[in-house]
């Protein structure tokens, strides 16, 4: 018989990562709803209690988790988390405010006022997909430049795809710096009737179409917006590039977070491949909400059969019910194991840690500490 294929990943230990003083930035990424924020917060608490000066940048945390971190308002300012044995700061990203601040920093007051009042800017800053990602990365850059913390942990926005936040800054840079914008600006810049001569045929077709479909006011708004924004384009692209380089820098580590579900693991896979392409350092994979059993030697099938035996006889109803419960759990466990194994066989070198599924959401620091302990590679026993 041939030997069974190797299906165990190397163990990920969060302490190796946070105890290394060269680790300056940890980015937690993964698809939506897998517990990224919780993971980021748990790593933050542990790092602070092991002596690092930490700030955790969160995006849209669950209410109770936010409370656990003492985050009561979205004020874009890091706040000291009470009850942690060390220096832990946490903040919630205010996307629009971060964007407004960039505008204010890069444009003179009059121009900034124009930009902030423009309907296009308002749409761009509050609803354009990718803006949140861009702003999270911008905030990361700001925190990094401030030099106030020696470890920054970022929780990436709940994108529909884990990759969005890598692409968003570039996409937005391209968008704000693109050909279209230049064409749009041509008449406004050249001004008056002279402008009409320099514009291309494409432009008149464009203005005709857009006027026809959207109305003339819209075109004027776009042009005003673009013109006012002009001075900032260079700055935007430069900032996006800076952030990108920061993500590639040796002090940065990515933690890919997933749940034992096909979609989440598929996203994690894409992400890991993408990180390799971009030469961005992957620290490991965290699989949250994994079900375990202390009686794993009792398989789903045997447990089910045992329950049936008791039910047929009409004896020991409690044991029968518990055996059914156990069978159900083993079924879930088996499925989760299968999914993780198939992940491991395509990424055999990626260090992995698993976190036990809990009956209730984490809502205090103690819960975060428990999770962090599981991230050290020693599986936590279910509460005894």
């Amino acid at each position: 018989m041939s030997p069974a294929p190797e299906k165990t990943s190397p163990a990920f230990c969060v302490d190796d990562l946070i105890d290394d003083p060269d680790t300056k930035i940890i980015v937690c990424c993964g698809s939506g709803g897998v517990g990224k924020t919780t993971t980021a917060a748990a790593v933050g608490v542990r790092a602070a209690e092991r002596g690092r000066d930490v700030v955790v940048l969160t995006v849209d945390p669950a209410r109770r988790l936010a409370q656990a971190l003492g985050l009561t308002e979205l004020d874009n300012t890091p706040r000291l988390v009470e009850g942690v044995d060390g220096e832990l700061y946490a903040m919630m990203l205010d996307m629009k405010r971060t964007f407004d601040e960039i505008v204010e920093a890069h444009a003179d007051p009059e121009r900034a006022r124009q930009i902030l009042a423009n309907p296009f800017y308002q749409s761009l800053s509050s609803s354009l997909s990718g803006t949140q990602e861009y702003m999270a990365m911008e905030k990361l850059g700001q925190l990094h430049r401030s030099g106030d913390w020696d470890l920054i942990i970022v929780d990436t926005p709940p994108s529909r795809s884990a990759l969005d936040f890598l692409d968003a800054p570039e996409r937005m840079g391209r968008f704000l710096d693109g050909r279209l914008i230049k064409i749009l600006m041509a008449p406004a810049k050249a001004g008056g009737r002279f402008g009409l001569k320099v514009v291309t045929a494409g432009f008149s077709m464009f203005t005709n179409a857009i006027t026809k479909v959207l109305g003339g006011q819209l075109l004027k708004d776009v042009q005003t917006f673009v013109l006012a924004f002009d001075t900032m384009f260079g700055g935007f692209r430069e900032r996006a590039e800076q952030t990108y380089r920061l993500l590639q820098a040796p002090g940065t580590a990515f933690l890919v977070v997933a749940a034992p579900e096909p979609d989440a693991l598929r996203e994690a896979s894409y992400f890991i491949e993408r990180l390799a392409e971009e030469r961005m350092p992957l620290a490991g994979l965290v699989v949250n909400r994994v079900h375990r059993s202390d009686a794993s030697e009792l398989s789903a099938v045997r447990s089910q059969a045992a329950a049936e035996t008791l039910e047929d006889r009409g004896t020991h109803p409690l044991a029968a019910a518990l055996l059914r419960l156990h069978a159900e759990r083993m079924q879930v466990t088996a499925r989760e194991t299968r999914l993780q194994e198939s992940f491991t066989s395509s990424h055999p070198t990626v260090p992995k840690a698993t976190v036990t599924a809990m009956a209730e959401d984490v809502h205090d620091l103690e819960g975060l500490r428990c999770i962090a302990r599981e991230l050290t590679g020693v599986p936590e026993e279910p509460a005894a």
């Binding site: 308002q122 959207l214 006011q217 045992a306 329950a307 499925r335 959401d361």
Partner: protein
Amino acid sequence: MSGRDTDWDGVRLHVVTGKGGTGKTTVAASLALALAAGGRKVLLTEVEGRQGIAQLFDCPPLPYEERKVAVAPDGGDVYALAVDPEEAMLEYLEMFYNLKRAGKALTKLGLIDFATTIAPGLRDVLLTGKASEAVRRRDKGGRFVYDAVVMDAPPTGRIGRFLNVNAEVAGLAKVGPIRNHADTVMKVIRSPETAVHFVTLLEEMPVQETLDGIAELRETGLPVGGLVINMVRPPLLPEDDLTLAARDELDVEAIRMGIKAAGIEDRTAEIADALAVEAADHARRTALQEREKARLAEAHVPEYDLPLLGDGMDLAGLYELAADLRNQGAA
């Protein structure tokens, strides 16, 4: 048409929303199957470019074209369409302005990308516009082409803004063709022909978002539909045992005797302990579910429970969930 009464008779546009991870796409697909049962024709649309429908129905990625993806019990058809905002924009230009060639040139210039990404609300008008067009579409004989349209909509956090296209577009165009288009779309969305269903799990965050979402829709006068509670795990223990389990007071010795009687010989004490721990976990989860269910009940919306499928989601599971939805009167 079937002679059954359902909770949503007369509704032809079913918008399905839910927090990420709640199974929104799965529920939308099951609902489409359930609505198609008995020989009806249903269109299932997705608007977020995730190709989630193709994955569920195990077919190649959907183009911007209505394709049959499944046959419902008793011979109904489910068609699917992945609505792409750029394609929808081009279609719109062509349909209303005969601007097909210009549209192509505009795509090259990046205008379509620009317009659909940045113009406030335009993207959403195009996406909802496509669904409302399908709802109103009639064949040569004047009959509706689709008996129902199910939209796998954006997540709960964005649903209010997504559907309230009028308000969105207001900042952009007070008059003009886009505004007219938005008005038409809005008429469909606000009509009794539309229902917005929420998918949730019995967990804290999804429940909170659902309640917030329902309140938001009610405030803006958008039609709240039903509440689909997904992945429900029925309690496997009687009330008394649950109470004891939650307090870690189950009779472990009785459990040990029971599993022994069932023919399990090895490590019975350890297994009995483990089973008691699992029971406590189950009891806590059940208590949490009850709490969250009580909170949901305050929204006063028809509820439908869908079970957690132990083997994960597959095509057979979709049919199972579709039957569950039908049995509870959701379709």
